[in-house]
């Protein structure tokens, strides 16, 4: 009986979380409606709230992180699933990647402040001076920028990509590899033309789930992205994400601002849940697909 109760509690918890946040967000939802999503201004003093720049910042930072992280994560996943090196060496690399996952977000933030921000500041100015005509690289270059946050995010989602990609690479039946070798293919021809295409759905799933993780990641981003609600196309200028916005403003918010933040939180839930459900669906499909090959 207690077990049943605990189960029902777990199920209702999700509904309770969503319901409670929507309830507290209601004043803002009814006041701003969809204008909240398309609005470009966020100024609590004038009670004007719009999250378009923040939504763009959230998507852009997660996408950039994925762009950096996917090639690296895939390389490590291949490294771990092939026998370039004996088992113990691969174990070390695997341990290192798993350690990356265990480091608290706030420590990444601290490290980012003292390592990545100076680097981005130094090279960002050079890049902005040379390629400033391209809107994505326009100056002035700040240390607290979209680029800084994305680089650190890339590091943080690397374990997700590596772990899921690796398990889908390992799940490719060995007979496919043997068949490819028997036709005279080299190792990399086999990897690129047989193994990766077979494992592709799993790699796609890992990317989607990593994207979801990046969107929800809070502390490191809040410490590095510069927290500016101004719309800008440059990677080198400050930006903001939904989660960082929540982290920075909740403690001091009151009145309608709390409701507006709850509204933003509801948007974050919708985005991350959507992305995660898509990722899980692809992953489940993958497991079925590779099971069929055996």
């Amino acid at each position: 009986m207690a077990c049943l109760l605990a189960s029902v509690l777990t199920i209702t918890l999700l509904a309770f979380i969503v319901g409670e946040i929507l309830f507290k967000a209601w004043p803002a939802i009814s006041k701003f409606g969809l204008g909240f999503i398309t609005g470009k201004q966020w100024s609590p003093n004038r009670e004007v709230f719009g999250v378009l720049p923040v939504l763009i910042g959230t998507t852009a930072s997660s996408f950039l992180a994925l762009l950096v992280s996917l090639p690296l994560g895939l390389a490590i996943a291949i490294f771990l699933s092939e026998d370039f090196f004996p088992g113990p060496v691969r174990q070390v690399i695997r341990f290192v990647v798993e350690t990356l996952a265990a480091i608290p977000s706030v420590v990444y933030g601290l490290w980012g402040i003292f390592v990545v921000i100076p680097l981005v500041q130094q090279y960002g100015a050079v890049i902005a001076a040379k390629f400033g005509i391209i809107p994505f690289l326009a100056g002035p270059a700040y240390g607290n920028s979209l680029l800084t946050a994305s680089l650190v995010l890339a590091l943080m989602v690397l374990p997700t990509i590596t772990a899921i990609s690796r398990s889908s690479l390992v799940a490719v039946p060995y007979t496919l590899r043997e068949g490819s070798y028997a036709l005279g293919a080299t190792r990399w021809e086999t990897i690129l033309k047989v193994i990766i295409p077979t494992a592709a759905p799993g790699i796609v799933a890992s990317s989607i789930l990593a994207f979801g993780r990046a969107m929800g990641e809070t502390m490191a981003v809040a410490m590095l992205i510069g927290n500016s609600q101004r719309l800008s196309w440059s990677l080198l200028s400050p930006s903001n994400t939904l989660s960082a916005l929540l982290a920075n403003q909740f403690a001091e918010a009151d009145g309608i601002q709390v409701s507006a933040l709850m509204y933003a939180a509801a948007l974050l839930i919708v985005l991350t849940l959507g992305v995660n459900i898509a990722g899980e669906a692809v992953l489940r499909h993958t497991q079925k697909a590779t099971a069929g090959l055996r």
């Binding site: 077990c3 605990a6 390389a75 290192v96 480091i103 608290p104 977000s105 420590v107």
Partner: protein, 296 residues
């Protein structure tokens, strides 16, 4: 004439064959090298993080860190004993709520109703909960606890962390229960035990080491999280007196002090990082080393 043409054609093709095979081999080795280089590249940032945390965290490491309160802005000396206690208290509250709830739900899902739609729903919801950003736990605790009690408190922070770790505990506990051979249950039923007796006396003790692994992983996760406690427990300069008042934690201390313009506070943030990473690593190692062998 024809034979020369045939020879030259044969030469041409064999030459081309050699060339392609050379190119193919070269490409093969090049990609191997690239793959290894990219993999090793990821060692660089991790190495940098570990070295910096140790290098900047060690100089201040002393018993004072554990016994004294944080200094006022601009002052030097002191530690963050209150933040360590605060982190432990909030992780404790989270465990107090989520361990019984998670294990009970896991028992239901795996022992009582493993094939029912309700069990499927519980698994699905737990999976969804793992995907919810940690800051949402904080937002929820803010809405449900802070706005109701009109107070930032350790209780609110603990509840936020409890929601964060519930799915981890539930899903690992379910896996652990699944790992108990079915023959154990049959033997227990065979000697006349009720389902409750079987679960309580046979299945749970057998699964306990693996369940504890999940709990330790949850501790590691909760201790390192900042977002759920940031605006639920807030921060405090003083020792915790009751769970109904604002409470310091290691992670929020790092966040707050990292952006202060005082060198000493930044050093404290590094030391707190060192202790936090040590705490998280210790929980992870405990999870894998102490409990795992018995499970196998």
């Amino acid at each position: 004439m024809t034979s020369t043409a045939a020879t030259s054609a044969r030469n041409f093709f064999s030459h081309a064959g050699k060339k392609t095979s050379f190119l193919r081999l070269f490409r093969n080795h090049f990609l191997t090298g690239l793959c290894i280089a990219l993999s090793l590249l990821t060692l660089v940032p991790l190495f940098s993080i570990v070295v910096l945390v140790i290098q900047n965290g060690l100089p201040l490491l002393s018993t004072n860190l554990f016994t004294q309160l944080p200094p006022a802005p601009g002052m030097e000396g002191g530690g963050f004993g209150n933040a360590i206690v605060g982190t432990l208290v909030m992780v404790g509250i989270a465990l107090f709520i989520s361990v019984p709830l998670g294990i009970l739900a896991a028992v239901f899902v795996n022992e009582y109703a493993s094939a029912s739609w309700l069990a499927t729903l519980v698994r699905f919801v737990a999976k969804l909960l793992t995907g919810i950003p940690s800051i949402i736990c904080g937002v929820f605790a803010f809405a449900a606890v802070v706005m109701t009690t009109h107070k930032f408190s350790a209780l609110a922070g603990g509840i936020a962390l409890a929601i964060l770790i519930l799915p981890t505990i539930l899903l690992t506990a379910e896996q652990s229960l699944m790992g108990v051979p079915y023959a154990f249950r049959e033997a227990s039923f065979g000697v006349g035990a009720t389902p409750f007796q079987t679960i309580w006396r046979i299945v749970l003790p057998e699964a306990m080491p693996a369940i504890m692994t999940g709990v330790m992983l949850a501790v590691a996760r909760a201790a390192g999280e900042t977002a759920p406690v940031l605006f639920t427990a807030l921060f405090s300069q003083n020792w915790i007196k009751s769970i109904m008042e604002p409470t310091a934690s290691l992670s929020v201390l790092i966040y707050n002090f990292a952006s202060l313009p005082y060198a000493y506070h930044i050093k404290l943030a590094w030391s707190a990082s060192l202790i936090l990473v040590a705490l998280v690593t210790l929980s992870n190692i405990l999870a894998q080393v102490i409990f795992a062998p018995k499970h196998r």
